[in-house]
Symmetry: C2
Subunit: 186 residues, 2 copies
């Protein structure tokens, strides 16, 4: 057989970027074909379930990244202050300092959510729970409410940065949020 042009992970990563740019509904197979260099035949060979399966795998890929880089460190770290700082470092890098959107948040906003309801719900629930665990370990009062507020603030900052076309907005919000969470720690 011919060598694969792209590893499955590379394909999923590139498909994710198409979804980021156009949304799930707006991402056409021809755009995906162009971004991956894979013909329709190859795409349906890799993803027999079509766009829906691509969506599932993209979400699973994102979830795995956040689990390893964000949630697990938040839950397991001995020092909550260090863990929370590391979370913001990871998040700022992941979202390219506000130049990249959160695909899960974007999926949540329209009917796409209903196709991927469980993955979307779990992404945010686990993020909030992991952050709340770190905050609680650090002696914060109302850790869950504070974690919810922080995750919402990150999502809102991403919207605002893109709407205003100004990544600096994201940077300012992240700095403020770091300070708020640190202030809540005992």
């Amino acid at each position: 057989m011919p060598a694969a042009l792209l590893s499955r992970e590379d394909a999923v990563t590139r498909i994710a970027e198409v979804f980021r740019e156009h949304g799930f509904a707006g991402a056409s197979l021809s755009a995906i074909t162009e971004a991956t260099g894979l013909g329709k035949g190859s795409l349906y060979n890799h993803f027999p379930g079509g766009k829906d399966q691509m969506g599932e795998e993209v979400l699973a890929h994102i979830d795995a990244w956040f689990e390893a880089q964000v949630y697990a460190p938040l839950r397991d770290s001995a020092d909550p202050r260090v863990a929370i700082a590391a979370m913001f470092d990871a998040v700022e890098a992941y979202f390219r300092s506000g130049r990249r959107i959160c695909l899960v948040g974007a999926f949540a906003l329209d009917a796409t959510r209903d196709r991927f309801a469980a993955a979307v719900q779990e992404y945010f629930a686990r993020w909030i729970d992991a952050l709340a665990a770190a905050l609680e370990k650090g002696g914060a009062t109302e850790p869950h409410a504070l974690a919810e507020s922080a995750v919402a603030g990150i999502q809102g900052a991403l919207i605002l940065s893109r709407a205003l076309n100004d990544p600096a907005v994201f940077g300012r919000q992240m700095q403020e949020m770091r300070a708020r969470l640190n202030a809540a720690l005992a």
Copy 2:
């Protein structure tokens, strides 16, 4: 001529709901036909520019509502504390306590933003400016940064409520945001 089945405003309102549900790219003319009860002929009679024109008019309609109900009161009210409380009342009603999304925020996230860049940018810029003006009048320090943070928090709360399928998240965030802004006033 035959009587109009729908006023222009009613048509724009119903089209807006289709965009909210499916996103701009995902909103098909057949869905718009179904939601408005207007055939393609009627739709193209009212909106010769097609979906793009519908998008423009929906955004203009939203902008007019926020200008009258939110921005102007924030700028003009004598009592900033009252004005800010009124803003939250209006916002919570508009977003149906978290059951309805912000269409402008949703447009901002994907390539739709580029079609309507000016309208999207101005919606948020004017909201932030109007809120900052009220905060400044109330003696808050760093009113612009605080306003930015509040608007981001509202957008993030809408995403989170929908992602978790729990409108209570939005209610909690709005309550917390009210308290934060009040605390910043002299």
